[in-house]
Symmetry: C3
Subunit: 207 residues, 3 copies
């Protein structure tokens, strides 16, 4: 069993749902929803593969597209149940970045890139799909909302994943632990309203 | 005679004009207009070539750039005649997506990708240049306007093109028929105000 | 000593500062600032490398990332000194496009592309990072502000650089001269409020 593919597909599902939810808030038509679900799911991985010089994963393996289309249809049908939870978009987006951070770091490690590039690839895989999703829906990308820990959670999770792989004790659970750290970091930050320390004095006003 | 190149160049001309019209509405300066004409023309094909792992077409063949510059100068000079028809942007954009859908499907077939990826590449080739054009001009991308059949027309035309290639009867006319379907689908949809069935009940309001 | 790498790194520094200044105006948190500094610095070069079919420079050479992180920390610490000059963003952005124009033209020449593609690569290397920076910060890309000579300065500088390389007299100073032309063209245009001749009659109003 290829664990990395499994984690990747779970990320595809989570981001496809986040895309459907974001597109439905803007009342896009069914094909518009599918397109947003698609770019949210594959956007980060596509940029990562282009940068790493890999063939683009979803072009060669029909599993990705099948799951995106299936998830989109599922999410449209059960949209009322999904929207019932006001924070659904937050939830699926957070699960998505946790899973994709791990996938991105792992792929860069496979290609023998340096640690800092590996963590950067994890962060980029996790964040880029959501940035395009938000831009296409006309929203401010979540990544740049100052009130939310987002890229910071990915950088943290990616770094921990990288360190765990070097240990002998937690190697098998590194996926789980690193992913959990991303989810926890972001969720706790939102619940307890934790932000990175501000570098702006109160006298500096936004222009 | 390379028919695919001909169709591609006709698409370049149509999209360059659409770019000039969109940029002039925002009163961009001549070089700004050229840049919008350029990204509208080559945006979709560039992303397609990067995804397929092909060398980027317009980088190797000066025909593309020559036609973009020529068309831009022509369109700026005759801008009043072009703008005379209020729906000029719609017209050239529609011709552009029809031509590019066929080109995109064909290129993906050449590279032996699966049918669904071929149709996706056709749609992406057709739609991505227009998305960048609209984003750079500060407009909502036409593709996401719920009142217009856009990506849907490309997916329909791409699928028909793919099917026609399998037939023996209409193979030679497959370019024409598939392109015509895209133009017809989008034009009829706008004239008769046809939309995809809404999945939103009247009780669900946009937030 | 590799002059091209030196020019490239100076461009990285200038664009990283421009990114920090742009992100701080929007009150992004420290990691958000780092991300904007990062995309402003490497955005143009990344697209250029992907289009030319080169491996992406900053992925293989840690010098880039080190300078981006170092510059970002430096710029955040000395933000008040940097912001003291109201036109700081303009200054660093202008230096950045001057340096990157030269780098982009040079890289395309190395890969044996035709002159017009070389100048296009110079312009794209110079302008694309700033476009992403501005889009992500929610600003109108500077490149499309009709009141500023921007891409025009890059096209001019890139063309002059290309011509100087053909001469025997000024070959060694071609970096300096071409870069100076870009800075001068843009600065003089802003100071003396020079614009490209308008193609719009006063009767044509923006819609």
């Amino acid at each position: 069993m290829d664990y990395l593919l499994l984690v990747d597909i779970l990320g595809v599902i989570a981001f496809a749902i986040s895309g459907v939810l974001a597109a439905m808030r803007k009342h896009f038509d069914p094909f518009g929803i599918l397109i947003i679900a698609f770019v949210a799911s594959v956007g980060g991985g596509t940029l990562r593969d282009l940068l790493l010089g890999f063939p683009v994963a979803w072009m060669r393996n029909m599993t990705y597209i099948s799951f995106i289309i299936g998830t989109t249809i599922f999410a449209i049908i059960f949209r009322k149940k999904l929207s019932y939870f006001r924070r659904s978009l937050f939830l699926f987006d957070t699960i998505g970045i946790a899973l994709y951070t791990v996938v991105g770091v792992e792929k860069a490690i496979e290609a023998n890139f340096s640690p800092i590039i590996c963590v950067a690839m994890g962060t980029l895989t996790a964040c880029f799909g959501g940035v395009i999703r938000d831009l296409l829906c006309g929203n401010i990308p979540t990544i740049f909302k100052t009130k939310e820990i987002y890229a910071t959670a990915c950088i943290l999770g990616g770094t921990i994943y990288f360190i765990l792989l070097e240990t002998t004790l937690f190697k098998e659970f590194s996926y789980l632990i690193a992913g959990g750290v991303v989810v926890l970091a972001r969720t706790l930050a939102v619940i307890f309203n934790i932000q990175l320390p501000s570098i702006y004095s109160s006298a500096e006003s936004e222009d």
